[in-house]
């Protein structure tokens, strides 16, 4: 079951194509990472999902139904460029934004009081926004994003401007929302938070989607059969003894142990390497090195840009 599906979304602005037949599918209850370099078209796609702008071509579906303005109250959006009215009271402002999402005044008040208490900003209700620190303003913004209990939450660079303590607080809240069954779209450049939070990703580059899927699937698709071996030996090193087609990438010495990274040939079981090593040296550790999202991101984007360059002589 998918909460949101976008099919062949194309968006043309005068002079440039912002999105070129991009399709994504966001499974229910997942945290979906929307990745890509600056200017790739992420924000354009997010604005289309929020119905701030309309696509030139393509269709969107929410829980299997065509996306309409009825669904606005089921989506919560924390934009990258975000702010509040500086001269307005914090409480009044939160109430206003909650009412715009379709909550009644009574409901909104009750829920806001709960969240303000939870985020420890209850005393700031009657203060003007300009008196708040940036971190506190971000908390208020987070609250008004989730206040109407939307099924789908969209966070665009949510952690920018937060200190590490508040980043953790926010991560916890995002994970709690996921546990409750909410679906989350998460757009960021911060690859470590992608590794930490996301189940699915889509990578957009130069207005095209160049990669998508489950994070675990992508990682195994991009693994290069590289293993790390920790061993001790009196001999000079394992490199000399490796069978044909096994490549030693690097070898270092750490205190008493030596560490070697080795690529094994495709369709070869890691056991072959391990068996071989056991005969030659004393094995202290053996693990597969998975590619980081950061590596995949960079290699995939570079690969795409290179091939694009070749096409345009």
């Amino acid at each position: 079951m998918e909460t949101l599906r976008a099919e062949n979304i194309t968006k043309q602005y005068a002079g440039h194509l912002a999105l070129d037949k991009v399709s994504i599918s966001v499974p229910k209850g997942s945290i979906f990472g929307l990745l890509g370099p600056n200017g790739a078209g992420k924000t354009s796609l997010i604005r289309i999902i929020n119905q701030i702008t309309a696509p030139d071509e393509g269709e969107l579906f929410f829980n299997g139904n065509k996306l309409t303005s009825e669904h606005v109250s089921k989506i919560g959006y924390l934009p990258e460029e975000r702010g509040l009215y500086k001269k307005m009271n914090v409480g009044e402002q939160a109430l206003y934004l909650a009412q715009l999402k379709g909550l009644s005044k009574a409901d909104a008040t009750e829920r806001l009081k709960f969240w303000f208490k939870k985020f420890d900003i209850g005393l700031w209700w009657n203060k003007k926004v300009e008196e708040l620190s940036k971190g506190m303003q971000q908390k208020v913004q987070f609250i008004v994003t989730v206040i109407h209990q939307p099924e789908l939450l969209i966070f665009d660079e949510p952690f920018s401007g937060f200190d590490p303590i508040n980043v953790n607080l926010l991560k916890e809240e995002i994970l709690k929302l996921k546990e409750k069954g909410n679906t989350i779209i998460f757009s960021t450049h911060n690859m470590s938070s992608v590794e930490e939070l996301c189940d699915h990703i889509a990578l957009i580059n130069k207005s095209q989607k160049i990669l998508d899927g489950k994070v675990s699937d992508i990682k195994s698709r991009f693994k290069q059969n590289i293993f790390e071996l920790l061993y001790s030996s009196n001999a000079s090193g394992i490199g000399h003894f490796l069978p044909e087609k096994f490549v030693l990438i690097s070898e270092t010495e750490e205190k008493h142990l030596k560490k070697a990274t080795i690529r094994i040939p495709e369709n070869t079981s890691p056991n072959t390497l391990l068996n071989f090593a056991i005969q030659q040296v004393e094995v202290h550790g053996f693990s597969e090195i998975m590619p980081s999202m950061n590596d995949i991101f960079i290699s995939k984007v570079n690969e795409f840009n290179d091939s694009a360059k070749k096409q345009m002589p």
Partner: protein, 446 residues
């Protein structure tokens, strides 16, 4: 609740609660009321009695000074030095010294006083002396002053307008001019004052970056209209409060300070008379009036001759219509820029028709029914101001309704145009925008 209503409510309340709004609302009526009240007050204060000693060495003028309500003349015959010493320090006494001259007709006098004499006193003294000198001169050239007095005359020109049904109505060109220009300028000020509030509001939302949060909940058009209507209500509130408070202050003042019996005769008479007077009544009426009351009569009559129903109705209509027409353009400009400093290049085409209207209204009051007047009062960009300038002079109803209809169409058009620019502009940050760019935005589908 409808989302546009929620927006209107916020835009309205956040402005009405501002200190600047409250101060303006209170200061405005005080200023307007003082324009009414101060002259009335001054006219009714009884000046304390003044005694003027007249030391007339020529002996020609002393008998001519008649005692007035609060000025008493006292002829003395001491020498100048003694008279000066005897001047009272509290200013109740002053000294008029007319020295003798070698000339047959003296023309110089000195007024000694411990405080500045009022204009009333000095002009009276001058007047009496001038008349006496004139008659002396006339006599010396052998003309009887009584003949001269009898040929002096004043002309009252009553301009009377006859409408299609043959009804006659007195018209008052000067009053119409003042009223027309005043309401035209008022509309001009209101459009600028509240239009730029819309402009600032849009820029504020853009620089605050709250815009993207809001447009994910409501359509940009709802936000724009909510803001425009909210500010319009602020304008109306302020306007109505001004009228109400001004009336309250004036009425209160009249009841508590002024005695109604002290109103000049003419005013009492006019209030019992009907607005439309026929020829005989007019004749009788002007005969009844003392010469000095004539201007008062004219003004009061003129003020009563205006069709206030049409005036107030059309003022409100053209004020709201003109505001709405321009406010959406102001909103579009606000959406296209990042700060108020960048608005200049786009403000020019908006301000030109408004300023042109004000300049042209000077011509229009001289010829309120000419072709220039007609066309400028029909074209929506200038009609709110020019039509209001013309209405006190009397405009055929069909022209008023034509202008009103076109204004509504014009407002719908500018709003449609502005909405297209607005929805693209509010999401563009940090981009220098020119007219070419705006033209592109107009053609985006959404």
């Amino acid at each position: 609740m409808n989302k546009t209503l929620i927006i209107i409510k916020r835009e309205y309340l956040s402005r009405v609660k501002k200190k600047s709004f409250i101060i303006m609302t209170l200061l405005g009526p005080l200023l307007m009321a003082s324009i009414w009240v101060i002259p009335l007050y001054l006219a009714n204060t009884v000046e304390e009695e003044r005694i003027i000693q007249v030391l007339d060495e020529t002996g020609l003028f002393a008998r001519q000074f008649a005692n007035k309500e609060n000025i008493k003349f006292l002829t003395i015959s001491s020498d100048l030095e003694t008279a000066k010493k005897n001047l009272d320090k509290d200013g109740k006494f002053s000294l008029l010294y007319i020295p003798s001259t070698e000339l047959s007709v003296p023309g110089t006098a000195f007024f000694y006083s411990t405080n500045q004499p009022s204009l009333d006193v000095t002009s009276y003294v001058k007047d009496v002396m001038r008349r006496e000198i004139e008659s002396l001169k006339l006599e010396s050239s052998g003309i009887d002053p009584n003949i001269v007095r009898s040929i002096k005359s004043t002309v009252i020109l009553n301009t009377i307008k006859i409408d299609e049904s043959g009804k006659e109505e007195k018209s008052f060109i000067e009053v119409n001019m003042v009223l027309g220009i005043f309401s035209g300028i008022l509309i001009y000020i209101f459009i600028f004052l509240f239009g730029s509030q819309v402009l600032r509001g849009v820029i504020e939302e853009k620089t605050n970056r709250i815009i993207e949060v809001i447009v994910s909940s409501v359509r940009p058009f709802q936000l724009m209209m909510g803001k425009i209507v909210g500010v319009a209500l602020v304008g109306l509130t302020q306007f109505l409060l001004w009228i109400l408070l001004t009336l309250t202050i004036v009425t209160f003042f009249q009841l508590s300070v002024l005695d109604t019996t002290s109103l000049p005769n003419s005013q009492k008479l006019i209030t019992t008379n009907d607005k439309i007077l026929n020829q005989e009544q007019l004749q009788e009426f002007s005969n009844k009036m003392a010469q000095q009351d004539d201007l008062n009569v004219q003004i009061v009559e003129a003020i009563r001759s205006i069709d206030y129903g049409l005036m107030i109705f059309s003022f409100l209509f053209f004020f709201i219509g003109g505001y709405l027409l321009y406010a959406s353009l102001f909103a579009a400009v606000g959406s296209a820029v990042d700060s108020e400093a960048d608005t200049q290049q786009f403000m020019l085409p908006i301000t030109i028709p408004l300023i042109l209207a004000i300049v042209i209204s000077q011509i229009i009051i001289n010829n309120p029914n000419g072709a220039v007047a007609f066309w400028f009062s029909i074209i929506p960009l200038t009609s709110p101001i020019i039509m209001m300038v013309r209405i006190p002079f009397g405009v055929p109803y069909w022209q008023v309704f034509l202008a009103a209809g076109l204004l509504i169409l014009g407002f719908l058009f500018t709003t449609w145009l502005a909405a297209k620019i607005y929805r693209t502009g509010i999401l563009m940050y940090g981009k220098k925008v020119n007219y070419k760019e705006l033209w592109k935005w107009l053609r985006y589908s959404r």
